[in-house]
Symmetry: C2
């Protein structure tokens, strides 16, 4: 997605060799007009797959999921990172290791909102090691829902998550695939 790559080149900043900061438009401040275009692109790529639910994980996936759900005209479900008093009853549960935060989260989805009648598109901001995506796929499999695939905004293609998850047979669409990056030379995209 050329518009997104341009924006990453313009406003993204690289720290070290593996941190790409896009917090001015994607995951702290949010450019909603850009997210609308991202949502339309996911809809174009997964058109005809029967998607009736968008699944993501809090927090930075939620905006992307909502704007994508507008294009699909379907609801969002976001997986929650820890059990709260407000979630009663039965939940699907899995564990996700966050490399950013250096900890493991319990991640849950209420069984009321995901089941065999659903066809799910997972969306998230980043795909690197694939830990969050693994967890979300696990929740979909537990629910018996059909998995249409996963749409990620930015894939760090030099990290193993994307290849590993595609090798499992999951369709993964990344709108910008970063081949390499460095503070000196910025971001290089895969074709």
């Amino acid at each position: 997605m050329e518009l997104l790559k341009q924006r990453i080149r313009q406003d993204g900043t690289v720290k070290g060799n593996d941190v790409l900061k896009v917090d001015s438009f994607l995951n702290h401040q949010i450019d909603v007009a850009l997210l609308e275009e991202i949502g339309r692109e996911f809809q174009r790529r997964f058109a005809g797959c029967g998607v009736n639910k968008i699944l993501t994980i809090e927090a930075s996936g939620i905006g992307i999921a909502c704007l994508t759900a507008q294009s699909f005209r379907c609801p969002v479900v976001f997986a929650k990172k820890s059990q709260t008093k407000n979630i009663a009853g039965e939940v699907y549960t899995t564990k996700v290791e966050s490399f950013t935060h250096g900890r493991v989260y319990d991640v849950i989805v209420s069984k009321r909102f995901l089941g065999p009648e659903d066809c799910v598109l997972i969306v998230d901001d980043f795909l690197a090691n694939g830990a969050a995506l693994d967890g979300l796929i696990d929740l979909v499999e537990q629910s018996g829902a059909k998995l249409a695939g996963a749409g990620v905004v930015i894939e760090k293609a030099f990290q193993p998550g994307g290849d590993r998850i595609r090798a499992r047979g999951v369709r993964v669409e990344a709108l910008a695939r970063v081949k390499s990056m460095s503070e000196e030379n910025g971001v290089k995209f895969a074709d």
Copy 2:
């Protein structure tokens, strides 16, 4: 907002005398079409105030903020609940006590995304004790931005946050004000 009150009557469930579960359409599964209407209503109420930024707090405010920002054609900034490795540099910081989670969070916003040039509308899903709203107002005040006011989807008007914050001179617009609720009699709205 009548559409919202109808939805709360239809799909909300009351636990005890103070928990209103709206997780089937607002803060776990999200009805994006309803959020579009909520966003339009906030825009109608705060039209002409010069709002150029929507501020919320992760996680359940983010969807509401994004759909509201569409109506205002402006960016969202969401305050983050704990410092992550990905946020470098200077931040505004405050503390927020979560009654749902029984703990106190450090809440931060990067100084790059809020400043004296901004006119901010705060949005959130619930207003009860007002702890989250206090924290967000504190962040706006630290930044020197103008505060247009706060838009909350559901106010528990029998808890003290709304009255207290209005008494400080902050304009608070709630789309559904719950006067009382119980498992036996459901939800009663204030006029």
